[in-house]
């Protein structure tokens, strides 16, 4: 039977409950919520004056009521040391989600640490160290001393290059401006670490180098643009599942035609119809299904290309659109360079593209018309959106550039109903000192780890065992190296610190690796680590981030972090304090002095030291002001305050469509972190201003037609097609029978680390699924739910078979990054020229392991598509 909670009622929120602003910490959309808390021995009542909603709760409430919450939105947590009831429910006033809760965000309360209700007891409560053959609790002082001594010893022998780091760079949980600054100031300020990688890729690089190189930051529009567009072209993305409430709240109204009034009001003097949608994806997703249900099949063009051939399609579209005279000549002349060069270099005929992509000439022509054919003499407004199908697909750099070419050529950046944006994974929250010393291409850190380089590995909120490429080989080598250190540590009494450090260093000289894992739970890679440092997550600390339309909000601390856990920024600060002490004790005064400036007492100190002092527009942003702006916040970059107006000369008043410019936002155009030249090891943070004036933000970037280049002109890029770019991919395709396409699913998206202890999710997905065409299943004698092995020359992994009649023959789709079957095991080490992984183009063979396990037998294998009526 399906999992049921057997809950028949919930405590009612009393009228005087405390209310905190919350932004969902899982995905990029950042839906607004409120956390209500009240004493555990009290409850509200059904009478209107007895509950926070002021309504009669003895009556059935209507659809979309704010006056209801599901059992997953409820829990009992600690607040200031005392048990309190908590309800975390969607905020109807938040413009992002308008009260919608996703299957992930609406479980935030249930996914909180609660000893009273036994939820998320996997959370780390104490620093843990390898002692007597297993991980054992210790004090912060002891754990940090060990980490500092080993790290300092490695630096002494190998320099900063001996310190390998894996660190989040994003917002939301396991990130945010406070924590990226804390880690950034440690590794890029106090140290100059260049062997560093980001949580989901094996190097320290942008996933969207091309668009940035062209002068176009990747989060350049606003969510309202999806309501205003004539056409939405979405590439390698599945927004219904991975930007759920952005899609439901902003795309659907345009597909249904219910945003027409808004279009007429904001964009008079041109005809408006419900949106058309072009979806480029080899797989038929639920996004395709729902677009067809809402817009009608005649307004949805699903271009199910051959995997990895997007680039050829975009080049052909550019060529054909230019031939038809549908480009925006004035915009190209005023705001761009190198159009003619790129057009000539990328020339691709419809027939050539059809041959490569598997599409028909007619389909490509139709796509071109929907993108760019003028509507009654007016320019068609097309919004371009892309994500991992492109980013983690074939020839990332050129393909990204080719899509931006198309958006620029049709004048669709910086204008209402346009934009060329990544859809995103986590929220953003990047604030760090310059990373220029890392270089480009950046070091391929996974390969360094495999090759035996470096002596110490600091891991912050990353789990390579689940989420890297070439994961099988990575795990084998990582275990080998860290086991050497474990054995060395076991050879001496733990309490003899000098002997312990000497033993560890001895093992490191032999090729061993000392591993320090900072996380909120024991991770898979943590199995190999020697120290775990327990971190706090969103809501257990104050945390700022911005979403996919650069909307910055503050999630307020509404509960205590478990046990001794601390915000990452403070862990970084305390580690810096300990490194300073150890270097000073050793007489290395100059090195010790580099670790000054970490005397933060709170996450707000880190915010004021980092974002407030260093980010463009940061001078206007404080916790007090963000609190006052609630779940709507403002859109970065800030340009001033409502009371004073925009401060910098030439900036706008924030009116829609107004020309934006001036020194305040120049640097921040395009989301690249821009640091002022202030020293990074400045002293204590200044006292935050107390005012709560409203912050003025920026609705769209490049609204003035000036881009992030010295002359303000975006640059077209030459992006010739060159087949499967990453080394070894074509050979793998030739050798193995099945495409192992991969991605996410609705239940689990940026939430698997907690979901692995959530009954609802693990009941539905005890193993990752692999979608297969029934005829392929028959050939391999497979039944639904059977556990299969997916294997190739890179490694092997497992999944449960989900029959999928809409799948193409020999093209499967496997759930990515799942704890009970890691797709990355079968992904090759092949990357692009800037060390971007290529997960999507993976080929392997499949064979049966066993019939459906017990945990799978009761599950449904029916189509996930909403039936058309």
């Amino acid at each position: 039977m399906a999992y049921k909670r057997q809950i028949d009622r919930l405590p009612i929120i009393p009228a005087d409950a405390k209310v905190h602003n919350v932004v969902c910490h899982y995905c990029i959309v950042g839906c607004g919520y409120h956390a209500y808390t009240w004493d555990v021995n009290r409850q509200g009542g059904t009478a209107p004056d007895q509950n926070v909603f002021g309504v009669d709760l003895s009556q059935q409430q209507e659809a979309e009521t704010p006056a209801w919450y599901s059992p997953s939105m409820y829990n009992i947590v600690k607040q200031d040391g005392k048990d309190v009831h908590i309800v975390i429910k969607p905020d109807t006033e938040c413009v992002v989600n308008s009260g919608l809760g996703s299957i992930r965000g609406a479980r935030m309360a249930e996914m909180s640490f609660s000893r009273a209700r036994n939820t998320q007891l996997q959370r780390l409560t104490d620093p843990m160290v390898w002692r007597y053959g297993q991980m054992q609790p210790t004090s912060w002082d002891d754990a940090l001393d060990l980490v500092a001594r080993v790290t300092a010893a490695v630096i002494k022998e190998q320099g900063d290059d001996g310190v390998l780091v894996s660190a989040f760079d994003h917002g939301g949980a396991g990130g945010g401006y406070e924590n990226t600054w804390g880690t950034g100031k440690l590794y890029f300020g106090a140290m100059k670490v260049k062997n560093i990688r980001i949580h989901n890729r094996p190097a320290y690089n942008s996933e969207v180098h091309a668009t940035r190189d062209m002068g176009v930051g990747e989060l350049n529009n606003c969510y309202e643009d999806a309501e205003l567009a004539d056409t939405i072209m979405v590439v390698g993305a599945n927004p219904l599942e991975t930007q759920t409430n952005y899609f439901l709240n902003h795309w659907i109204p345009n597909l249904r035609g219910t945003s027409t009034e808004k279009k007429n009001a904001e964009l008079p003097d041109e005809p408006h119809e419900p949106a058309r949608v072009i979806i480029v994806d080899p797989r038929r997703t639920v996004t395709v299904n729902v677009c067809e249900v809402e817009a009608g099949k005649d307004r949805v063009l699903h271009l199910a290309i051959n995997s990895g051939t997007d680039l050829a399609l975009f080049n052909a579209l550019l060529t054909y659109i230019a031939e038809q005279g549908w480009t925006d000549r004035e915009f190209i002349a005023a705001s761009t360079n190198d159009f003619d060069k790129a057009l000539a270099g990328n020339r691709t005929t419809l027939e050539q593209a059809a041959e490569i992509t598997g599409l028909t000439v007619e389909q490509i022509k139709q796509a071109a018309a929907w993108i760019a054919e003028p509507k009654e003499g007016k320019r068609r407004r097309t919004m371009f959106a892309y994500e991992k199908g492109l980013i983690w697909g074939n020839d990332n750099y050129r393909t990204n550039g080719a899509l931006v070419n198309l958006a620029l050529a049709t004048g669709n950046i910086g204008r209402p109903g346009g934009g060329c944006v990544r859809l995103g994974g986590h929220q953003e929250g990047y604030s760090r000192p310059s990373d220029a010393h890392v270089g480009r291409p950046a070091a391929y850190v996974d390969q360094l780890l495999i090759q035996g380089k470096g002596g110490v590995h600091h891991i912050w909120g990353c789990d390579h065992y689940k989420t890297t490429l070439n994961a099988h080989e990575f795990k084998r080598r990582y275990k080998e190296r860290t086991d050497m250190v474990k054995d060395a540590m076991s050879s001496v009494p733990y309490g003899d610190r000098q002997a312990t450090v000497d033993a560890i260093m001895g093992a490191i000289r032999e090729g061993g690796l000392f591993s320090v894992d900072v996380d909120i739970i024991p991770t898979k890679i943590g199995q190999a680590s020697h120290v775990w440092l327990p971190a706090a997550t969103s809501g257990e600390m104050n945390l700022t981030s911005m979403n996919g339309e650069r909307r910055m909000r503050l999630t307020e601390r509404y509960m205590d972090p478990p046990g001794q856990s601390m915000p990452d920024c403070l862990i970084a600060a305390r580690l810096a304090n300990n490194l300073e002490r150890v270097f000073r004790e050793a007489g290395d005064t100059a090195v010790a002095d580099q670790f000054k400036g970490f005397d933060w007492k709170s996450e707000e100190d880190a915010f004021m030291d980092g974002y407030h002092q260093h980010e463009k527009g940061g001078e206007f942003v404080t916790y007090a002001r963000l609190r006052a702006m609630g779940t709507n916040g403002f859109q970065e970059p800030a340009t001033g305050l409502e009371t004073t107006g925009p401060v910098a000369a030439g900036t706008s008043t924030g009116e829609p469509g107004e020309v934006l410019g001036g020194p305040t936002i120049e640097g921040a155009r395009g989301k690249e972190p821009v640091q002022e030249a202030a020293p990074t090891n400045a002293g204590a943070a200044p006292t935050p201003p107390a005012g709560s004036e409203r912050i003025v933000g920026t609705k769209r970037l490049y609204a003035d037609g000036k881009f992030n280049k010295e002359d303000g002109k975006a640059v077209f890029m030459e992006t010739q097609w060159r087949g499967l770019q990453a080394a070894g991919k074509q050979a793998e395709k030739d050798k193995f029978a099945f495409l192992i396409n991969n991605g996410r699913t609705n239940h689990v998206w940026q939430s698997a680390y907690l979901d692995q202890q959530n009954e609802l999710v693990m009941d539905r997905w005890p193993y990752p699924f692999i979608e297969m065409h029934p005829a392929d299943m028959e050939e391999l004698s497979l039944k639904q739910g059977d556990l299969v092995e997916i294997y190739n020359d890179n490694g092997s992994t497992q999944a449960a078979v989900y029959p999928t009649p809409t799948a193409k023959r020999k093209e499967t789709f496997m759930l990515f990054a799942y704890p009970t079957g890691v797709q990355g095991n079968v992904v090759s080490a092949g990357v692009n020229e800037f060390i971007i992984p290529n997960y999507k183009q993976t080929w392997a063979n499949i064979r049966k392991i066993s019939d459906a396990p017990e945990s799978v037998k009761h599950l449904s294998f029916k189509s996930q598509e909403y039936p058309a009526t």
């Binding site: 399906a2 028949d8 659809a63 009521t65 209801w68 249904r256 219910t258 029916k862």
Partner: protein, 174 residues
């Protein structure tokens, strides 16, 4: 059960525009027994009524019968699936009952006889009637509330409990 049919007939687009559900609920105007506030000692579970919803003879295979449980303001369906399922009632173990208010945002679910699923026109969630109301795909953070059913010797079908919280009420019995 006229009201329930009307709920379904209203159609999803209208539901998305406003509070039709509230109006429909109010129109039913069913008065419910009020539990005395202070008389009874506090109990750990709500007291579910044992309500006769139908007789087996009223059910046709794979045709949903609109019902209300635990009261008429809580629309649901009874289904005779035709194949024995875990948790199924009746001599053939194939009778099941579910709330038809989507546990995500409270829109009325539609039955799709072809694959025996309940489907939400609001945000496309799908629940499998043959798998205990398992959410096949969707936005809800719970599987579909299912009735605990008892069938007596005469073939009368009684609902006597639910296994999840119904949308729009903080106590399953109001």
């Amino acid at each position: 059960m006229e009201r329930c049919n009307r709920l379904v007939d209203v159609g999803r687009r209208q539901f998305l525009r406003g509070s039709a559900f509230a109006a429909a609920g109010a129109a039913a105007a069913v008065s419910l027994p009020v539990t005395p506030a202070r008389a009874a000692p506090g109990l750990a579970l709500v007291e579910y009524p044992s309500n006769r919803l139908a007789n087996i003879a009223d059910l046709k295979p794979n045709e949903p019968l609109d019902v209300g449980y635990p009261d008429d303001n809580a629309p649901g369906v009874l289904l005779k699936l035709g194949t024995r399922v875990e948790g199924g009632a009746g001599p053939d173990g194939d009778i099941v009952g579910f709330s038809t208010v989507c546990p995500h945002k409270g829109f009325p679910l539609n039955y799709n006889a072809e694959d025996r699923t309940l489907n939400c026109p609001g945000h496309y969630s799908r629940f499998d009637c043959e798998a205990g109301g398992l959410q096949i795909w969707g936005q809800a953070t719970q599987n579909l509330p299912q009735y605990q059913l008892r069938v007596d010797k005469k073939g009368d079908i009684f609902a006597e409990g639910l296994d999840e919280l119904i949308y729009g009420r903080l106590s399953n019995v109001l």
